[in-house]
């Protein structure tokens, strides 16, 4: 199922919408806000994922749109090379000192990223409406869970490829479409009374959420960035099992529907496997064979951690403001 065309958020997304509907080109239009730039890049990447309703699929390789994408990506990569450096650098130094890769990778993922934890909020204090708002933000990613990382697959050596496929097979249901993680997510969303459509909540998505998704698409699509794509994937897995347990406890505390709890329960167990396979076999093995991939793999991991922290901070602020507005309206 393709995505719905999102509502424009500024001059560039307005121009892109026109272009996607077959009206004009966008070459000279500048984004007029971070929100506009993030949505624009999300729209351009979506042409590579599933495309949009009633938009020509050939636009995926339209040279003018690719040029717009390249400008936005250049800016995105520059910003995140900078933003994730303070996390990546200490780990990269430890690689240079010959320390054990798996050990330093797990340490990197345990680093304090300096913000409040979204899952602790859900575990202990969130109200149901706030959790539903969080699920709507998360749905931008979960309906295409793992997809961006699969662009890396044909670019890998055989051994790395085999380990990535072992992880992906589990994510994609081990041959059972019913067990696909994205399908478990849709069942959870339906049980919560939420829209299960692909990218159904894109108009609500915070710019930080769009950017987090854009980063995954960027790392997956560029062969040059494949080590970072796998570093990102491994960090994502490492940062999933324990937070999923907190989500389970929070959803149970609120008495939320079982299918959504089941989604997070599955991730407690699945990602406890994936993190070990990803760090020790997939990345650890690759780094041992090709030491030069280590630095970008660690940068990709740092991007994952820093982007999740930015998303968490933004989502927390948004759901708390939402609750305040609601309570204010009642008062």
């Amino acid at each position: 199922m393709p995505a719905p065309l999102p509502t424009p958020r500024g001059a560039l997304t307005e121009a892109l919408s026109d272009c996607f509907r077959g009206r004009g080109v966008t070459r000279s239009v500048e984004a007029d806000s971070h929100d506009d730039a993030a949505l624009a890049l999300w729209m351009l990447y979506e042409l590579h994922h599933r495309g949009f309703d009633e938009v020509d699929d050939a636009l995926e390789w339209d040279p003018a749109l690719l040029a717009v994408r390249a400008d936005l990506e250049h800016d995105l990569e520059e910003r995140w090379r900078d933003r994730a450096r303070h996390l990546a650098q200490p780990a990269q130094d430890r690689v240079a000192d010959g320390e054990d890769f798996a050990e330093l990778f797990f340490d990197l993922c345990a680093a304090d990223t300096g913000g409040e934890s979204l899952v602790r909020f859900v575990q202990r204090e969130a109200e149901e409406e706030q959790v539903l708002a969080l699920l709507r933000q998360r749905s931008i990613y979960h309906v295409r869970e793992q997809d961006s990382a699969m662009w890396a697959l044909p670019r890998l050596d055989d051994e790395t490829k085999a380990h990535l496929v072992a992880i992906a097979a589990d994510e994609y249901g081990n041959g059972h479409p019913d067990h696909l993680h994205a399908e478990l997510w849709r069942r959870g969303m339906a049980a919560c009374g939420l829209d299960t459509g692909y990218a159904a909540y894109v108009d609500e998505a915070l710019p930080e959420v769009l950017e987090q998704n854009n980063l995954m698409s960027m790392l997956g699509l560029h062969r040059r960035l494949v080590p970072a794509a796998l570093g990102h994937l491994a960090a994502f897995e490492v940062c999933s099992s324990v937070p999923s347990k907190r989500m389970v406890r929070g959803l149970e505390r609120l008495g939320m529907p079982e299918p959504m709890i089941a989604y997070y329960r599955e991730h407690m167990v699945a990602d406890a496997v994936h993190e070990q396979v990803a760090v020790r076999r997939m990345l650890g093995g690759w780094v041992a064979r090709e030491p030069l991939v280590a630095d970008d793999a660690l940068w990709g991991a740092a991007v994952c951690l820093a982007a999740e922290q930015e998303t968490a901070t933004a989502v927390l602020s948004s759901v708390r403001d939402g609750a305040q507005l609601e309570h204010g309206a009642v008062a």
Partner: protein
Amino acid sequence: MSTGETTTREVLLCPDGPVLIPGPVTVEDEQGVKHHSERPVVAVCRCGASSVPPWCDGSHKQVRRRPATAVPSPRHGRELEDY
């Protein structure tokens, strides 16, 4: 297709973590209860802290993780309080 050779299955003991075993597999726990998994690889808990035994749920990171640097992160102390 049989090659006539015995297949050796590789099991990985993860430092400070679970044991990785190729699946599908049935694990019989200390009470004699059998737990089946169809996953290509399973992670069996070794730290005793999992909330979903016999499978690993990442809890070893909260109870067993050795600090890699001389100064332990206070984060680990906080994590312990929750469990």
